[in-house]
């Protein structure tokens, strides 16, 4: 806190002078840096710091040096608000966050209230990974922008792919028992029912979040159901352990997942030997074939030691720069106005745009599967030193991912 206060004091004195061009553009990065989610939060922080360096190497944003201010929220909504308040108190006008929809909802509420109560000190919330659909529907806010496809959009894309797979006959849904897991299951049931009424949903399971240490009872149930495909939004240890138990029991099905590529996931898949049977839906793939993206990947891996898990963060930061330049200002109100409806060439190629109605970014989405990499020249990137990597199975165009919104946007 001291450091922040000192920094704030320093910033004030600078303001008192004149040289606003040297003033850093601070982005508060609010994510877990201690506690259970720390490994994920650290990865995000490295990504944003890398992106800030990239921008600064080219002169920053409108001459302002971009600075990432790490703020540890311990994956706790209340702590996030403390950190957000701390950041705002210290003069931060942009915050970004991704891990945990509960945190995201709290922050969205925070910026809305803060901005209505403190006109002239508006704060924007850039969301790079909290995917609860309600954040751009009933709870939507003008001050919130989301670069990740929300879970309904991903399911829309996923089911658009699944409907073309006649081998899928019996689907088992298993998800973590919280809002994200529930929206995955609800959307899956609804969309599969519409697009492939012949598919039978033979199981629909919610299990306690991050508390199960042995998934074998669940695997036994899946096996007993006779499913040929499992759809899951599980992430972190809940994904790795699920797969481990499946391998132990000898369950051979296809897995359609949201976050199989998360830390520990690739290792678990490799251990189970489920080659090309685990699919992931994401807005980018390391082996995308896009030259610029693949060069970026190479440099990123060399500098940070991790793979590009957040192409959306790249989109977020680059688009931020574009919007600021378009508005010719780093004032959040003007940047927000510029971002609305903005079109943008995304990281892995193709056009995306920030829908004005709900501030949801739409972009091409990829289905990829995990397995050994045949052509090292074309697909050079493996994951977690397993020798296996992601290759694209299908690309769903932006238009195919559009979903209507119930957002009733209140503009200032």
């Amino acid at each position: 806190m001291h450091r922040l206060i000192v920094a704030a004091a320093a910033a004030l004195t600078v303001l008192g002078g004149a040289a606003s061009a040297q003033e850093n553009l601070k982005i508060g990065y609010i994510d877990p840096l201690s506690g259970g989610g720390a490994s994920v939060g650290e990865g995000g922080l490295k990504t944003f710091q890398y992106l800030a360096d990239e921008l600064n190497a080219k002169g920053g944003i409108l001459g302002h040096k971009v600075e990432i201010v790490p703020l540890d929220n311990k994956t706790n909504p209340q702590e996030s608000l403390v950190q957000a308040q701390k950041a705002v108190d210290a003069g931060v006008r942009y915050i970004t966050q991704g891990n945990g929809s509960s945190v995201g909802a709290a922050l969205e509420d925070f910026v809305t209230k803060n901005n209505s109560r403190n006109p002239g000190k508006e704060v924007l919330y850039f969301n790079y990974a909290a995917v609860d659909p309600s954040m751009t529907n009933e709870k939507c806010s003008y001050w919130h922008f989301r670069w990740d496809a929300n879970s309904d959009i991903k399911m829309e894309a996923l089911t658009n792919y699944m409907k073309s797979q006649p081998s899928i006959k019996k689907v088992y849904l298993i998800n973590m028992d919280y809002s994200f897991g529930q929206s995955v299951r609800t959307a899956a049931r609804k969309m599969l029912g519409e697009k492939r009424p012949d598919i039978q949903v033979v199981g629909d399971e919610l299990h306690p979040m991050l508390k199960v240490t042995d998934f074998s009872p669940y695997i036994a149930k899946i096996k007993a159901s006779g499913a040929d495909t499992v759809v899951t939004g599980n992430w972190g240890q809940d994904f790795a352990l699920l797969l481990k138990a499946a391998a132990d029991a000898g369950l051979k099905v296809n897995w359609y997942t949201y976050y199989a590529g998360g830390a520990g996931g690739p290792t678990a898949i490799k251990q189970t030997g489920l080659e090309n049977q685990v699919f992931q839906i994401s807005e980018g793939v390391p082996n995308s074939g896009n030259k610029a993206a693949m060069d970026f990947e190479k440099d990123f891996r060399a500098k940070t030691g991790i793979s590009v898990w957040y192409p959306r963060a790249v989109n977020e930061m680059r688009m931020f720069k574009a919007a600021a330049e378009k508005a010719n200002s780093i004032d959040p109100v003007k940047v927000a106005a510029a971002l609305e409806g903005m079109k943008f060439e995304v990281f892995d190629g193709g056009e995306g745009f920030m829908r004005k109605d709900d501030h949801q970014f739409f972009q091409p989405i990829y289905i990829s599967s995990f397995g050994s990499l045949a052509d090292k020249a074309k697909e050079p990137y493996d994951e977690e030193n397993t020798g296996w990597g992601w290759h694209i199975v299908s690309k769903i165009d932006t238009a195919q991912t559009m979903l209507p919104t119930t957002c009733n946007m209140k503009r200032p």
Partner: protein, 315 residues
């Protein structure tokens, strides 16, 4: 359905035996020293991480022996340099010491091995399906875990019945005031008991680590359940702890296997009722509430039979 029952029973018994490896030490320590060792599950975690590290250096089998001994040594050091000095401040201070210790151990573990699960694998010799029930494989390693737990259980039984320390421990279980009459040996007996209890927890960690997840929050996940087991079984009762361990293991596993909810039994509620606590309770499945069942049991036991299943004394 039949395969679900077989697999769930095996898993339930296995989890129950693991719980007993932990709760036996906890019960004995509590009975003799009056200390509810909050850090007991942390010793289990230490066992898993020591096991993981030693497996990488010298292989699984030596680790299986050395890691529990190391954990036992840590336990003895905690007793000798921590609890013994805190004893004069009373049981609450001792309890708080172990509470702080649990906190610190978790932090140290995550500092050294990180917050994500470590790659602690089943040894290759045991990495095959032991048998197949209707098309579902049952891993050999789990059978191995079961065997180890049963062997330790029997060894514990023999030690309690046949050795001098065992007799002292048994006397202490039924007559806590007896411990005061042990004379000059009391310190050494305490240290030994604490060490053995910790080592058992460590052993449970070593064998559970590859099968379950080895992560810095594994102690915090398991700890509260342990307390449920020993209160449920009756404080100071080893047979009680045994029955409670198995029961909770089975309940936890079977609850997961069941899909029932009030809605599935009595039909869905009228949608016009809207969202209310009633609809929440109505629609929740048994599988979803599996993790809170032990605590529910705890509360029920405390209301209807405060001394626990087989306990004889209230505190």
């Amino acid at each position: 359905m039949a395969e679900l029952i077989v697999i769930s029973t095996l898993n339930g018994v296995l989890f129950g035996m693991l719980l007993f490896l932990l709760s036996s030490g906890l019960t004995v320590i509590f009975s003799m020293m009056g200390v509810l060792n909050f850090a007991h599950a942390s010793f289990y975690m230490l066992g898993a991480f020591f096991g993981y590290q030693l497996t990488r250096w010298i292989g699984f089998w030596p680790a299986l022996v050395i890691a529990p001994l190391l954990v036992g040594a840590v336990g003895m050091a905690v007793e000798r340099y921590g609890l013994r000095n805190t004893h004069k401040h009373g049981h609450v201070a001792e309890l708080l010491l172990t509470f702080g210790l649990a906190f610190a151990i978790e932090e140290i573990v995550s500092m050294i091995w990180g917050k994500s699960p470590v790659d602690y694998r089943v040894p290759a010799v045991l990495d095959f399906p032991a048998f197949t029930v209707f098309s579902t494989n049952y891993p050999a390693y789990k059978i191995f875990m079961l065997v180890v737990s049963v062997v330790i259980f029997i060894a514990l039984l023999v030690t309690l019945k046949r050795t001098r320390v065992g007799l002292i421990v048994q006397a202490a279980l039924t007559h806590p005031s007896m411990v005061g009459h042990l004379g000059h040996n009391v310190g050494r007996v305490f240290m030994l008991v604490f060490g053995v209890g910790s080592a058992l927890a460590g052993l449970a960690g070593v064998i559970a680590g590859p099968s379950l997840v080895t992560q810095s929050d594994m102690a915090a996940l398991l700890g509260p359940i342990l307390f449920v087991v020993i209160v449920f079984g009756g404080l100071g009762s080893l047979p009680g702890a045994f029955i409670a361990s198995l029961l909770i293991g089975l309940i936890q596993t079977f609850a997961v296997a069941l899909n029932g909810s009030l809605a599935s039994v009595f039909g869905p509620l009228d949608p016009s009722l809207g969202a209310s606590p009633l609809t929440d309770i109505w629609n929740v499945t048994i599988a979803q509430i599996a993790p809170i069942l032990p605590y529910l049991l705890l509360v029920l036991v405390l209301i209807f039979r405060p001394m626990g299943l087989l306990g004889t004394r209230e505190s």
